[in-house]
């Protein structure tokens, strides 16, 4: 049985993906707009979806616009920015109730598609730009959003590790942009960036829910009329990993109670590589789950931490370790973590651990596609990497990973940067 029934076609320059399923009580519509991550554009791009979600031509006041969402049975509209490898992605999501579960039979899906198209294509303008008041308000909110990372020490330490580790690659940039670049944005410059984005960016539209494809096609055709595409930007060329020199160690001090230890490794394997499945299994045995080496050795055996885990940045090929420890345990924790990498390189894991990890990964993937949002993220990974790996192939790929492949991946992994956020000296 096919796990996901995805149909794809191109219309007016948009790649449309429809995934009919009757397991949800709502319909989900997601726009993904992709362009290469660049120092020049990162900040202006980061503010754009927040300006767009304020209002549209037909609901020009934010409170009117929000009241209209309420009227559509609390349709939820959310935007965010993310990085996938060296690409910068704007997501605009609308989730709307399926009217068959309501006493009222208002045709909500069409209204939802129409509204999302207006958010993307019919913003409120003033002169040659967006409304100045809106842009100014969102500039303030963006600065606060960028700054808020500092206040969340876990996020802060993760971000600082990436900045240090990828100092010479676009990947160092935060998806939310740079604070000192916010002020220079104007209603006009943002609008011109926006117009250019519509013409040149890679745009995907996903529709998941109890939908009839012919009906959806008709709505998409009617509402999503994009300007002519020109000079379309292609997926960014993956920057070669920097030449490895000596591993880097960065220690930063702040007035905090718990130290944050974040370690970054280069895996030299990404989503499109054949060894990617082996990397996932590697990560699962090493630090991805509660049966992993990091959890057992850092937390359970030594009581050094409440959390000690690793994750893979699939499109950039990084392995990132994070843990919260006492300041005084830095050396000890670093030693234990690096010993676990070494154990992985030496092939110190059993067939039992391998099959256990495969079972948990498989479970995780199947659970992810039980949510509309997770399903879309999984499918979109294929578009970003320009590969075609159906979920079945993914599950099979994981299942077929051998002990030798895991060791092969382990040997390719190189320590890059150890970052420690620690307390102020007494």
């Amino acid at each position: 049985m096919k796990l996901v029934d995805e149909r794809t076609y191109t219309l007016n320059g948009i790649n449309v993906h429809t995934i009919p399923t009757n397991k949800f009580k709502t319909n989900t519509i997601v726009l993904k707009v992709k362009a290469p991550l660049s120092e020049e554009d990162v900040t202006v791009r980061a503010i754009l979806p927040y300006v767009l979600q304020n209002a549209t031509e037909s609901h020009p006041q934010p409170s009117q616009f929000r009241a209209y969402l309420d009227e559509l049975y609390g349709a939820s509209l959310a935007v965010d920015l993310s990085k996938k490898g060296e690409d910068h992605i704007i997501s605009i999501r609308l989730e709307i109730a399926n009217e068959k579960f309501l006493k009222d039979s208002t045709p909500l899906l069409e209204k939802g598609i129409e509204l999302l198209s207006e958010v993307l294509l019919k913003p409120v303008t003033e002169g040659n730009g967006f409304k100045t008041a809106t842009v100014e308000k969102e500039k303030r909110a963006l600065k606060q959003r960028i700054q808020s990372v500092y206040d969340d020490k876990m996020r802060y330490a993760s971000q600082r590790l990436i900045e240090e580790m990828c100092a010479e690659e676009p990947y160092r940039l935060s998806a939310n942009g740079e604070k000192d670049k916010v002020e220079a944005i104007t209603a006009e410059s943002l609008y011109s960036y926006y117009q250019n984005m519509l013409k040149t960016n890679d745009i995907h539209l996903y529709l998941v829910g109890d939908i009839k494809e012919e009906e959806v096609d008709e709505y998409v055709k009617k509402y999503f009329v994009l300007p002519d595409q020109e000079n379309k930007v292609t997926s960014s060329i993956q920057q070669p990993n920097k030449d490895m020199t000596e591993p880097n160690e960065v220690i930063e001090r702040q007035d905090i109670k718990q130290g944050k230890l974040n370690i970054g490794y280069r895996t030299n394997v990404t989503f499109k590589d054949d060894l990617y499945y082996a990397l996932q299994v590697f990560n699962g045995i090493f630090g991805g789950f509660s049966h992993s080496k990091l959890f057992i050795n850092v937390r359970e055996k030594e009581s050094l931490a409440y959390y000690a885990a690793s994750r893979v940045e699939s499109h950039k090929g990084l392995l990132l370790v994070m843990s919260g420890i006492d300041f005084s345990n830095y050396e000890k924790a670093v030693t234990i973590i690096n010993q676990q990498i070494e154990a992985m390189k030496q092939g110190e894991y059993t067939n039992g651990e391998i099959s256990q990890t495969k079972a948990v990964i498989k479970n995780q993937i199947l659970e992810t596609i039980d949510t509309a949002r997770g399903l879309i993220e999984v499918l979109y990974n294929n578009e970003v990497s320009e590969v075609d790996k159906p979920i079945e192939a993914f599950l099979e790929g994981v299942e077929n990973v051998t002990k030798e492949e895991i060791q092969e991946v382990a040997k390719m992994i190189e320590l890059d940067t150890t970052y420690f956020l620690t307390g102020k000296e007494a």
Binding site: T26, A97, K257, H291, Y306, G352
Partner: protein, 427 residues
């Protein structure tokens, strides 16, 4: 087995009370891969004074013990139960709240095996002095992690400001000092008292054959023996209706300030349908006043006093209740003042029928969205059931709420003496 149909929602719920008192609920969900199960005891951080099972006198146990017990149940003589779950392809977890401790797993295969593991590990405590000592290091790091978390500090600081003596003001994890007093014997005392099946609820949602599943659960429970069930006696100190302090300011290593405004429930004795109606009405009221479609929200945003972190929420349980509003802000004093004056100047007669209808529509749609989530259904259903409410009554109850209900709640709930503020500001 009782079958409860929700036609409009296209859901069927199956229920049975087992001989040992355990409440079991099954909600089949076709099309989903995942099965999600929660095994929950009505025992949380507030239950620190009680009569141990088989005894006569009240005891007071160390702060954080319910949460500590949650951690320790995962460890057995043969090792860690997390391992057993992951060998069976499942992911397991647990959480402790003010009033509940829940153990859970989700898996897409070996569901019966995982369910057996869940029921068996929760019903077979194994504590030793050595493992209890080891856990103090791990939980110590968990507590320290929260000390650096500005959102948590603002949230808990606000609750501390609201309550004089009710144990809801005690941090769920306790303190490094309080957990140092926990012993294997005190863990067993709490376990014996609160983990009796008659104080617990098992909820399973996912693809399943309900009769087979129910039989499997019954067979598992029939193999075990439990003491006679007794009524659990808990004690809470008298809590005044006033707030403990009007304003608290915490200085932390942050760049942006946070400001939370709390409203303390003055008579938190409601249960069942009455509590359901009350909490839905308070939530509608908060939405009318502070939702993104409200003029107040737009004005606060335009004036730069709030950003997207601004949120509000109402918590109502037997014995305590409160609303909280707030988020990141550059001007905490100004935000506190504005929020409080919006509340105090609110004239319930100014609400129009169509505004109420709009918010009701929004709530009904949000509830449908939440029903996509097995986690939401299981966790919320359990919370509702422990308060004698029914999660599936949310929509019908929402539809019944009138302007008169809103006016009555506004009059009763919004009182200046019930307000308090907690701010986190840069050092």
């Amino acid at each position: 087995m009782e079958k409860i149909e929700f036609k409009q929602l296209e859901e069927n719920l199956y229920h049975e009370t087992l001989d040992n008192g355990l409440e079991v609920y099954l909600l089949p969900k076709s099309g989903f891969h995942k099965t999600y199960a929660t095994f929950t005891t009505k025992y949380g951080s507030i239950d620190n004074k009680f009569v141990p099972l088989g005894e006569d006198d009240f005891v007071t146990v160390p702060d954080g013990i319910a949460h500590f017990l949650e951690h320790k149940l995962f460890e057995k003589e043969h090792g860690d139960v997390f391992q057993d779950f992951s060998k069976q392809g499942a992911s397991a977890n647990a959480f402790t709240s003010f009033t509940r401790t829940a153990y859970l797993f989700s898996s897409t295969s070996n569901v019966e095996k995982n369910l057996e593991t869940l029921m068996d590990f929760v019903q077979a405590p194994y504590f030793t002095e050595k493992t209890v000592e080891k856990e103090k290091g791990i939980i110590g790091q968990e507590i320290t992690m929260y000390e650096d978390n500005a959102d948590w500090r603002a949230y808990f600081g606000l609750i501390e400001s609201m309550f004089h003596s009710h144990p809801v003001k005690i941090d769920i994890a306790g303190t490094i000092d309080s957990i140092s007093k926990i012993t294997k014997d005190s863990l067993y005392t709490c376990y014996e008292t609160f983990y009796h099946p008659s104080n617990m609820l098992l909820f399973i949602v996912g693809p399943m054959d309900t009769s087979e599943m129910m039989q499997f659960i019954k067979d598992n429970q029939a193999k075990k023996t439990f003491k006679e069930k007794e009524e659990i006696k808990r004690q809470f100190d008298e809590e005044p209706t006033s707030v403990n302090e009007k304003k608290k300011v915490l200085k932390m290593n942050v760049h942006t300030s946070k400001c939370m405004v709390g409203i303390k429930e003055s008579n938190p004795t409601k249960q069942g349908p009455e509590l359901l109606k009350h909490e839905l009405t308070v939530n509608i009221l908060l939405d009318l006043l502070f939702g993104k479609s409200s003029d107040h929200y737009q004005k606060l945003y335009d004036d730069g006093l709030i950003d997207e972190t601004f949120a509000y929420d109402y918590t109502g349980e037997n014995g305590f209740g409160f609303a909280m509003l707030g988020g990141d802000t550059s001007e905490p004093d100004k935000l506190a003042e504005r929020v409080q004056s919006i509340l105090l100047q609110f004239d319930p007669n100014s609400i129009e029928e169509q505004e109420l209808e709009r918010i009701k529509k929004k709530k009904i749609g949000s509830f449908l969205r939440a029903l996509n989530s097995p986690e939401f259904i299981a966790n919320q259903f359990t919370r509702y059931a422990f308060n004698n409410m029914d999660l599936f009554e949310v929509t019908p109850q929402l539809e019944k709420i009138t302007l008169e209900d809103l006016k009555a709640v506004a009059k009763d709930f919004i009182k200046e003496e019930a307000f308090t503020t907690c701010q986190v500001v840069p050092k």
